[in-house]
């Protein structure tokens, strides 16, 4: 067989690939939010049906649960986690005050304290937290729960 004019398949143009990827990138940048701080307590939320969606930027999260590690130091009873460390109930007031300070004046009235309490905790600690929140005048709260 003699040389026949080889028919080459034209190269697939990849020049629009970056555009496509950028589009996906922008989609993710818009629709997602940055991961929260590390949770250092067990945090399996209870299930419920009568729940509403909450706007993330108006939330102050308080975690309650059993410490995940360092149990010899932190104990194995449910603890309160504010920011990135274990705190006592007495620290809640300062925590709320500093969180409120960080927000714009206009948004302060919308602030909600999101109680992310592990389902195996007992009500004792939750009630203590709630009493502290009342003292801190953070009366809008939400019991975080998953959809059943």
């Amino acid at each position: 067989m003699a040389k026949k004019g080889k028919k080459e398949v034209p190269k697939l143009s990849t020049s629009s690939l970056p555009d496509v990827i950028f589009m996906i990138l922008f989609f993710f940048m818009v629709s997602t939010s940055m991961r929260d701080k590390d949770v250092i307590v067990t945090n399996v939320l209870p299930q419920a049906t009568e729940i509403t969606k909450l706007d993330k930027k108006n939330l102050i999260s308080i975690y309650v649960g059993v410490p995940l590690d360092q149990q010899n130091v932190a104990g194995s009873a449910p603890r309160i986690q504010l920011n990135d460390s274990f705190q006592s109930t007495a620290a809640i007031r300062d925590f709320i005050a500093s969180e409120v300070e960080r927000r714009d004046e206009a948004e302060r009235s919308k602030l909600t304290v999101n109680l992310r309490v592990d389902e195996n905790s007992t009500m004792g600690i939750v009630t203590d937290v709630k009493q502290e929140l009342r003292k801190a005048q953070a009366n809008k709260i939400s019991y975080a729960a998953r959809q059943k």
């Binding site: 009500m123 004792g124 019991y143």
Partner: protein, 200 residues
């Protein structure tokens, strides 16, 4: 005079895709998509211990007392409920507790019921308050389940009123109509003070 045109080299853009991919992967890892969900409540403002005493003026007839004790036993106005009473019936989508709460809220024989006329329809204002007490040792999970059933009762009534008034679901109402319904059926679940428990 002809100037020799100098061709500017094109910038090689083939690595652009790689850069974009890298950024994409970074965002995929560092962000989350899940939405926060929860049951919202408004706590009563803090009152000092001395003032607290004369604050219990609500007509006892209009209060449905729900209390949860240590072992997950639930008492509703002296009647005992178990965990099974929190489970919804598949057909009616009601549990015994939510059913009971609904009947309580809508019961016609209470003194301070007010009828209001909205859109030419007579509707009964719900004045009932549900008081929820929980023992210190109560499991949070049980507490939320009870809260959920109580809220369900309120939501069902709201849904019912909204169908009657506006012929549409409460969720599809515009904010104004929502406030009308919310005023008719205020979500009154009072979470009792912890020291109330010892009184009983």
């Amino acid at each position: 005079m002809e100037k020799k045109k100098r061709k500017v080299d094109e910038i090689n853009a083939s690595s652009m895709a790689d850069i974009a991919f890298l950024l994409l992967i970074f965002f995929l890892v560092a962000t989350t998509m899940d939405v926060d969900t929860g049951m919202t409540r408004v706590l009563p403002p803090w009152v000092d211990a001395e003032k607290q005493k004369d604050n219990t003026d609500i007509n006892q007839r209009n209060v449905l007392k729900v209390s949860i004790s240590k072992g997950g036993r639930i008492l509703v106005d002296e009647a005992e409920y178990t965990q099974a009473d929190l489970i919804r019936d598949k057909q009616t989508n009601e549990s015994r507790l939510s059913q009971e709460t609904k009947t309580f809220l809508l019961s016609p024989d209470r003194s301070d019921k007010k009828d209001t006329v909205v859109n030419n329809q007579r509707l009964t204002l719900s004045e009932g308050v549900v008081s929820l007490k929980a023992d210190k040792e109560t499991q949070y999970k049980v507490y939320i389940e009870v809260q959920n059933e109580l809220t369900h009762a309120f939501n069902e009534i709201r849904e019912d009123y909204s169908q009657r008034l506006y012929q549409s679901s409460f969720e599809d109402l515009d904010p104004e109509q929502r406030t009308v319904i919310s005023k008719l059926v205020p979500l009154k679940i009072s979470e009792a003070e912890p020291n109330d428990q010892t009184k009983k």
